[in-house]
């Protein structure tokens, strides 16, 4: 299997670095701001997930996932 070229390696790294930064920012924001729980029902789970720190961390996770092995 061919290993990725150096520029490709850096582009993958920059995506993973930005993704990791967003995940860390989401965690710090959640600690500082606090998160609310809205129950176990489907709409409650949606409300719980729909909070700014969780959304920022989720975007970070998406960027890390989509940046892998390009």
């Amino acid at each position: 299997m061919q290993s990725p070229s150096k520029p490709q390696h850096w582009s993958v790294l920059s995506r993973q670095a930005v993704g990791a930064l967003l995940i860390a920012a989401g965690i710090v924001w959640a600690i500082l701001r606090g998160l609310s729980g809205y129950g176990d029902l489907p709409d409650g789970i949606l409300y719980t997930l729909d909070q700014p720190p969780i959304l920022v961390a989720a975007v970070g996770a998406i960027i890390v996932y989509r940046g892998r092995g390009r």
Binding site: S14, R15, Y47, D50, P52, V56
Partner: protein, 179 residues
């Protein structure tokens, strides 16, 4: 049907997260095998823009203020047109040089609509917030247009910072400022 303020803010947060994912996926550098920068061609971006347009259009149904309805309708139009053109291009069914300008022009257009929103309702609670977001969008779109025109900076995603700042501002918008 009029939504409570917290639900309006929640919609803004979700749309902010969607735009942050779109902007980072589109503008974070990707280089081809020869080391030269290549443009992201994921069809996900086209779909995401059209989903965002649907979310913005929903305000036309849920808003109780006429200028909110008008501005959100126009935002939805711009995003849907940009999404459709990007989707056609990424599927390979329509390819023109001017399509490079679609996303930057859509960002500038949406930014101008933010400024128009403030102009129509200058005393609104979120006026300063909206103005800042509009200026960030205009700056991001203009920087991307400069990047397209000026080959020397073609490899640097100039608009990435203001566009990411816009999306983060939308995610972080206070409940009282969302409209």
């Amino acid at each position: 049907m009029i939504l409570p303020q917290i639900q309006i803010a929640r919609a803004h947060w979700v749309l902010g997260a969607l735009f942050l994912a779109i902007i980072l996926d589109e503008y974070l550098p990707i280089r081809g095998r020869d080391g030269r920068p290549v443009r992201q061609r994921s069809t996900v971006i086209g779909w995401a823009l059209m989903i965002g347009a649907g979310g913005v259009w929903a305000t036309v149904v849920f808003a109780d203020v006429v200028h909110d309805m008008l501005i959100h309708f126009l935002w939805g139009d711009l995003l849907f047109a940009a999404g459709a053109l990007e989707l056609a291009r990424r599927r390979g069914v329509y390819e023109r040089p001017w399509l490079d300008c679609v996303l930057p022009v859509a960002f500038v257009g949406c930014g101008i609509l933010f400024v128009a929103h403030v102009w129509l309702d200058p005393s609104g609670q979120g006026a300063r917030w909206h103005l800042a977001m509009g200026l960030l969008l205009i700056a991001g779109g203009l920087l991307e247009l400069i990047r397209l025109r000026w080959r020397m900076v073609a490899a640097i995603p100039l608009g990435l910072l203001p566009l990411s700042a816009f999306a983060l501002a939308l995610i972080a918008i206070p409940v009282a400022a969302a409209s």
